[in-house]
Amino acid sequence: MATATHSRNRRKARGTSAKKAATTRAKTARKASAKAASPRRAAAEALLLVGTMKGAFIFRADKSRRKWKMEGPHFRGEAVYALLHDTRGGRSRTFASATSMHWGPTLRISDDVGATWSSPERQSVKFPEGSGRALAQIWQITPGRATEPDVFYCGVEPSALFESRDAGESWRPNEGLLNHEHQPKWQPGGGGLCLHTIVLDPKNTRRMLVAMSTGGVYRSDDGGKTWRPRNVGVRAEFNPNKYPEFGQCVHKVVQHPSRPGRLFLQNHWGLYRSDDWGDNWLDIANGVPSDFGFAMQMHPHDPDTVYIVPIEADIFRATPEAKLRVYRTRDAGSSWQPLSRGLPQSDAYENVLRDALSADSFDPAGIYFGTRSGKLYGSRDEGATWTEIADGLPPIVCVKTGTVSAA
């Protein structure tokens, strides 16, 4: 008995000490991240880039983020699935993927935060002749590492990865993925066969990871030459074999740069964490009303905090119990808590898509999301309370943040 009590106390002490260590780690990461993310925070203006099925909108606010001013729509009538504002290399460059239902997709660039946009005669992102494929949509535009300010990546439909080494002027496909032996077996999900997520190792330039619907997670450890599926533990409900090597419908993967080997994954059924760069995935759907969902966002300063918006089911893509709730974990998925103050808690049959949940780099962090019904919400206090920023927008497919130096 005495031994058991002693052992319990030891466990408790270990737990307390581990918790303290984790809290200290989180605080240290938070401070470092906040400092790195917004060195000119005092002078910064907040940007919200909102992509919809009928154009893009740009919202601006001062650093208090109380009042937002809307500009747009840019690219009227065109679907804008991907947006990015990037400030590496002394630039202030905004990217938008605008897809006309009739005339196809075009990657547009602005160096004045949307006052003017490039209108290239030739498509800059396109499949090579003879590949038999044609660009349907650009789903993701991701900046390269901080040390590579001219590098950008695009994830596209049909699933492929493109890379630019001249700040987005020209692009070439990643041959390793383009010609991957699994490629003929990747199947389209409800939104199309898309490569929608690109995660880089901030230090190891040879390592990166992508996610596809469907196809799953693939990782390269040799600078993009070869790619291996990394889906062990991720289920595929729609497949006879529930745990195939590849073919999962992964909806989003996020990572905190201060702890790059640890990844969080929102699946088409399933919430997961990996502590080893995707070699293994652990189920972390602890206390969520549904483990189906699309959107997932990392806290900008705390590597243990992640946000999701659970959705009832694939056959009923609406918020569970008709309540619009963001869920947050602050312990890397051991538990999840609903965040609902300021959000409708009845008759809310909403859906938030995979790129429509975002966080800014301020401290305290702002969290934002847009719904398919065209409502845009924001929180200035890391999700504790929410306010409606806009209503009546076209269906929102993408919400991204940025900062610009105040004029």
């Binding site: 099925m53 009538g77 006309s100 005339w103 005669e121 396109k126 044609a134």
Partner: protein, 92 residues
């Protein structure tokens, strides 16, 4: 001589000209569009995707007939034909 009539939205790629005239002979609609591409690569890339297909929501009419109901890109083009490019009824 073949006339290609383009919608306003594509005129930014043709120096604001709504009609381009293709000199020389083109046996098929596909050849005529390739000739258009040599004059205006921008317009061509909006009409055709990089796999060589006409974009799904673009309609091409040869002398008033939709080529989807003729022989597609292989449809023969008579002399003095008019090819008209129009957006389909879909849209946002």
């Amino acid at each position: 001589m073949i006339r290609v009539e383009l919608p306003n939205v594509l005129c930014s790629y043709t120096n604001d000209k709504p009609t381009l005239v293709l000199e020389g002979s083109c046996r098929t609609v596909g050849e005529a569009l390739s000739a258009l591409g040599r004059k205006s690569p921008g317009a061509f890339e909006r009409i055709m995707d990089e796999s060589g297909d006409v974009r799904r929501h673009v309609n091409i009419f040869l002398n008033g007939e939709n080529i989807r109901f003729l022989g597609g890109l292989g449809t023969s083009v008579p002399n003095d034909a008019t090819i008209m490019v129009l957006a389909a009824v879909s849209g946002g």
